[in-house]
Structure formats: structure tokens, C-alpha cells
Subunit: 128 residues, 3 copies
Amino acid sequence: MNELKVLFHINESSRWQMVLGNITNLLNDVGQDNAHIEVVINGEAVSIFKDKCKQVESGNLCSVSPNLSLLEQMEKLSKVGVKFVACRNALKGQSIDEESIPDFVRVVPAGITEIVRKQAEGYAYIKP
Amino acid sequence: MNELKVLFHINESSRWQMVLGNITNLLNDVGQDNAHIEVVINGEAVSIFKDKCKQVESGNLCSVSPNLSLLEQMEKLSKVGVKFVACRNALKGQSIDEESIPDFVRVVPAGITEIVRKQAEGYAYIKP
Amino acid sequence: MNELKVLFHINESSRWQMVLGNITNLLNDVGQDNAHIEVVINGEAVSIFKDKCKQVESGNLCSVSPNLSLLEQMEKLSKVGVKFVACRNALKGQSIDEESIPDFVRVVPAGITEIVRKQAEGYAYIKP
């Protein structure tokens, strides 16, 4: 079988679970050695990388972030080869420090350019 | 004119009318012999196939489903060649029995894989 | 560098700012001479062209349209080569007179057909 090439685009936080579920279903269906998968994150969806602790105005304790399990799922997927790419414009727009985001996420100057280039390379586009 | 190849992706119930309207407009514009159209249904959008009667807890009467006219529109489109494909993962997720869905709908193991393969075959992708 | 070809699809009014921001980011990233950009507008998103004055039932004064700054942004983008294409079916559906929409917007019989054709020409598809 030819390897599948797939670009997932997410720009709304509410779609994270759908995106990660779609990827899991795809990998279960075709096998992780048979798909090149990249997720481009822009717009408001980059808020998954916000450090919740900084938003607590009083007290030292951080509440457990509801994003934690999503980030854990992302990290597991990255370990089987799924690539995650965040848009620098979007990170700036949400005042998120690039240094604070997980190592498995690559930052590009413009997420839209990445989406266009990947499609030109033959990647299918999916907007979950 | 070359035949057009188009893949419509729907994963939210609220988009059904838009999807079916888009297909109707496309067929009216180019003619039904000039387009290969496939609709891949995953996520929450498969709930259109839920049997409303089973949800009525008391009484023998089923209220008329608001999905009925949508299903009728789908069936009409299937008769002019539009293909409808549902994701097995999504059907399981919504506890919908595969045997209960209309005969004109084909079930695939993973809707996402179908979307990727169709794009690799030259189908345009549209997310209404 | 090869020129990039990109088709943006918008069918919801709430996504206008995202679409125009995405285009601006793309142009800033690759340069306006290096991208062919087309925006296909269908569904409810064509309501940006509604003449707000006609909706005021009493009095002669028109309130300033909240769409005005969006239209100004669109016009600026059109001057650097971004093409805007509206769907006639959608305009009719919203009772918008074709003569009333800005000159820089081209009207096509069916927006969906335009999206399919552009992808067949090698345009990447993005749904912001």
C-alpha cells in the first residue's frame, strides 16, 4: 500500500478532541507506518498551549488544566510519528511564549503557508 | 467537459442542510452526468441515522423525525448517483446499529481514511 | 520559489475576520507576488453584502455597518491581487441584488463548482 499523506487543520479549541480522535482512528485503520500525518494549529486553537498557572491571580496552586489530557494525547501521537505545527502569528495573538510550548511542537512563521505547501506536496486536507 | 470529482465531508448535524443544498446546486450547475460526488459522514453527523422511535420511552407512537426530510433528500440524491459513506467508528460512538441505516449508505471502517484516499484519487475536498 | 495557489472557502459570517487575517498572514509570509489567492463566498457568508440601510424601517439615517471595515479590508486585499468570488445561489437565497455588491467581487452561478474547479487546477483548499 502506498503511504497516505494527511494534513489536519485546527483553528478552534472545541475541535481538539475530534482532531485527535480522527487521527487515532486513521492510525488504527491503516497502521502507523503507513501514514504521514501533520497537524497545523492556528487561530484560537493554539490556546491549548496557554499556561493555566499564569492565569491564577491569587494563591500558589495551579488547578489541573483541562488541556492536560489533550496535551498528553498529543505527545503520545507525536511519539508514533504525528507532527504538530503551530502558527507563530497565532501564538503572538494569544500572547503565548514560544519557549513555553512542548518540544514536540514545531513553530512556523505562518500556519496557512504550511497548509498550502503540504497540499502542494500531495497531502490530503482535512478540517475536522 | 471533464467530469468533476468531489468529496463532501460532514461531521456536525447542523451542517446537513448546507451539504445537501451545496450538492443540489452543484448538480444543477454542471449536470448530474458530469460529477462524481461522495459524501463522507463521521463524528456526530451520523446521528441522522438514529432511530427516533427507540428514543420514545413511553407509548407506541413515534413522532415524525425531523431527520426524515433530510433522509428523503439524501435518498433522492443517491438515486442520481451521489454516494453516501458513513464511518463505522462514528456509528459505534453513537450506538447506531449498522443494520438500521439506509441501504444507500455504505459503511467504511474509518471515514478519515476514505477522505484521504479520495483526495489521492483526485477528488476535491469541500467542508460545508 | 514557485507561486502558491490557494482557495479560501467561507460560508459563515462569523469567520470573516479569520479568513481575512489568514490571507494577510499568508501575504506577509510569502509576498504578494508569490501567491494566487481566491476567496469563494457562499452560504450565509454572502450576507456581508447586505445593504444595511435598506433594513432600517424608519428614518433616513443609516447606522454605520459593522461590515464596513471588513469590506474595506476586502477591497484592500483585492487591490493586491486577491480575488473574491460570490455564489449566485447564495445571493438569491439572501435576497441580495447582484448589482449592489462591490465591483471587485465576481459572481459565479455556483460557488461549489468554482471550488471544485480551482482544486482541479492545483489550488490548495483552506476552510478557516
